[in-house]
Amino acid sequence: MNKAYILSISIKFILVFIGITLLAELGVRLFVTAPSNHIFDPEIGFRYRPYTELFLATEGFARNKVNALGINDDEYDPNKRLKKAIVIGDSYTEARQVDRQANFTSLAEQNLAAWDIINAGRDGLHILNTYEVAKRITKTVQADLIVLVMSNGDFIDDLSNSNIHLTLKGNELIDVGIKAEQKEHLKGYAEWLTQHSALAVQLIRQFKPIIVDTYINILAAFNHKRNEDANLENQALSSARHIVEKKEILDVLLTKLRAIAPVAILYINQIEYNSPNDAYPAKKPADTAAQMQEIAAKRKISFINTANYLIKQYYKNRQSPFGFMNNHILGGHLNENGHQAVALALSDLIRQVEQGENN
């Protein structure tokens, strides 16, 4: 092989590569995902860049725009003389899988003429970060109510996270918090690329496990000393966590949130089926909903479990309230059908709060 041949092949390769990469970029933007709109945030991991698109066609096929506050909601109008309910939670609340007008906060708003319901959900938001989100959003929005949307994962996984910082005074837990995880820093390195290329976002998503593992291993290899310190700190925290139950952590969070505004809890329960005529609330792991209800009752916080609403909706049209045609149908996020059910639950929850206030 002579030099001229190698040069000619290289040029051809580069030309075809550029052409096909541009085609792939177009294809991904049309059918798969939008460029990233994440901005690294040391407190909550990331936040959305205002006025950007939320689009991920692996579950549903909806395109929504982030508003000026960086949330999946209509533009906030401070002149509306309505009561304000801020709904905070993770991807179930953000609901990027369905059109904004079909998500449960928009539908509930139609049911409650006196309320402006603000959807402050964000994909992957840790339950303890809801406090930080509430604090930030109430700088703009005078909240009359904070609705905390929780699911099994928030209670079981989020509250078991080893990165949770616990502040104890004697044996009493007085504060809880969580900072962005190590892997979130990774996003900062590729921010420019991912904000301009949907193809890069999708490639990174596909290789995420390899990239994250490699990054964490490299960090571990180069930060021996730091890791030793962190381990000691973690050991101290684990022993502290050992005596602190999840319920107590949640209790502290609720106290902090109530300092901002009154709080209500909406619990999203998955449903399962024995047969088409026998749907029931998923109970694995057991009694999460019951524990949540117990905490709410203790604090006299309004609480609604959506399970019965979702089952009723299923029997109404025999379609699963979770899942999408292009993903799993029995699990995953709420679809349009499920949002209708949860909207009813949210409406009832807010009415319950109103009644409580009146009493």
């Binding site: 051809k12 075809v16 998503r205 290789f207 089926y273 379609q319 045609m325 799993h328």
Partner: protein
């Protein structure tokens, strides 16, 4: 180690490097042998002893049969070797079934043993058996080099899921010097990428839908179940054919030719043709070493039917010890017998009555439907699920409707692929395309296009190859 993993890419690059620096032809054999054992040991290093023992037993008995002149002694060696090899295979595959049957019959309570089925055990046992039987029938000479024989049995591209390569096909190639040739490399890349597309893009995406539906068929509508039946038909074809194509591609890259294992089986117009196109290396193995040994079609109509039924029943049981595989194999055996009778007595009459085109279309439709319906027992975890699936498939029921969009798109693409093939599209029929026929732009385009499709549309959780379990 699986072909579609990052580990395999690293492994293969290192292997090529080592082969390039090994100037001596014998060294290259040793390098390939070591690579094959590493490939296998990556799954479970303990079972290297098993594959090694099976190979050594095969080599020794092959040698004994070859040098022995007395017919009776040759036969004894043959029976001994077959018994040892089949006992080892049966222990891993069927011992717990045997215990279950014993408990059932004798009303005992012998606990099951914790037996892990070694990956590819059926394949390397069949390689060894065919070698010994071929020597016995004087079809091939015994292999003098133990290293070459160990490599024949363990040659990593075809080690864990076939194609089942006969000694007469691979051993002579091991005698030739391993050389990297441009046309082999390009053809190998095409075959590998074609296989990877079938496995990762088609089969893995379909498995997301198929797995859910087969897990609880009782809650879906009739139409969703029908979609799942055809989706599984395509999934298992692309999963297995994709793996075979990758295996053939890897071997081709290294300069070896492995036999074709699939030839568009869903284009078959009768069940006999289907089995000539599906898992060709196993079908022909069963035909040559089982069906013909039972007497084939030489002993009358009834005996032919019985032989076919036994062959397919054992073929079904080869996949695993369960009633579902008995049903699957048995019904295929009956269908093969009926097909034979049909062609003898009725085929021509029907052809005349409805015309050739109508007859062809009808035969193709019936074959496709039959094969796909029989995938239900093959895929279902147990007999109860099979029964429930069939019950709901033929009766309109309440349930959740799920038309999985990626599945619909893939079924459409696969249908187009088959239609194009029927019209003898040269790029499909002559695959791999002779790289010299394409200009550099086209070669690079095909390579990059396949690469992008693979990495963009593969599901996050790749499914294991279905045939690894057999």
């Amino acid at each position: 180690m699986i072909f579609t993993s990052f580990t395999f890419v690293v492994f293969f690059v290192l292997l090529i490097g080592l082969l390039l620096i090994s100037r001596n032809a014998n060294y290259r054999i040793y390098v390939l042998l070591a690579a094959s054992y590493i490939f296998y040991g990556w799954w479970n290093v303990k079972y290297l002893a098993l594959i090694c023992s099976v190979s050594v037993i095969g080599w020794l008995f092959g040698y004994l049969i070859a040098v022995e002149t007395q017919k009776i002694k040759r036969k004894i060696y043959l029976i001994c070797s077959i018994t040892i090899l089949l006992l080892s295979l049966s222990y891993f595959k069927y011992f717990n079934l045997f215990l279950e049957a014993t408990n059932h019959l004798l009303n005992t309570n012998i606990p099951f043993m914790d037996i892990v089925l070694p990956v590819g055990i059926s394949f390397f046992t069949f390689h060894t058996l065919s070698y010994i039987i071929d020597i016995y029938h004087n079809k091939i000479p015994a292999c003098r080099s133990l290293a070459k024989f160990l490599l024949f049995v363990s040659f990593f591209p075809q080690l864990v899921a076939g194609p089942i390569v006969r000694a007469s096909e691979l051993l002579p190639q091991l005698d030739q010097t391993i050389r990297f040739k441009k046309e082999n490399i390009l053809a190998g890349c095409q075959l590998f990428l074609g296989g990877a597309l079938q496995k990762v893009f088609i089969a893995d995406n379909l498995s997301q839908f198929v797995d859910d539906v087969f897990l609880s068929p009782g809650i879906y509508t009739q139409s969703t179940l029908w979609l799942a039946v055809f989706a599984y038909g395509i999934q298992i074809f692309c999963d297995f054919a994709g793996y075979s194509l990758m295996a053939i591609g890897v071997a081709k890259f290294l300069g070896f030719n492995l036999p074709k294992n699939f030839d568009m089986p869903y284009c078959a117009k009768n069940i006999t043709e289907f089995w000539r196109r599906w898992h060709i290396s196993l079908s022909s193995w069963l035909r040559d070493y089982l069906y013909i040994s039972l007497g084939g079609n030489r002993k009358g109509v009834v005996r032919t039917q019985v032989n076919m039924f036994i062959t397919m029943l054992l073929g079904g049981l080869w996949h695993g010890a369960s009633w579902n595989f008995v049903i699957w194999g048995g019904l295929h055996g009956i269908a093969l017998g009926l097909n034979r009778l049909w062609h003898v007595f009725l085929s021509e009459k029907v052809k005349q009555a409805i015309g050739l085109k109508g007859y062809t279309l009808l035969s193709w439709g019936i074959t496709l439907l039959f094969v796909n319906l029989l995938w239900i027992p093959f895929r279902s975890p147990n007999f109860e699920t099979t029964a429930l699936f069939f019950q709901r498939l033929f009766v309109a029921n309440d349930g959740i409707q799920w038309f999985h969009t990626p599945t619909l798109i893939i079924l459409l693409l696969v249908s187009m692929w088959h239609i194009m093939y029927q019209y003898r599209s040269s790029i499909l029929v002559d695959f791999p395309v002779n790289a010299y026929k394409l200009n550099a732009y086209k070669n690079i385009f095909i390579l990059l296009f396949a690469f992008y499709v693979l990495i963009l549309f593969s599901p996050m959780n790749a499914s294991p190859f279905i045939y690894f379990q057999f």
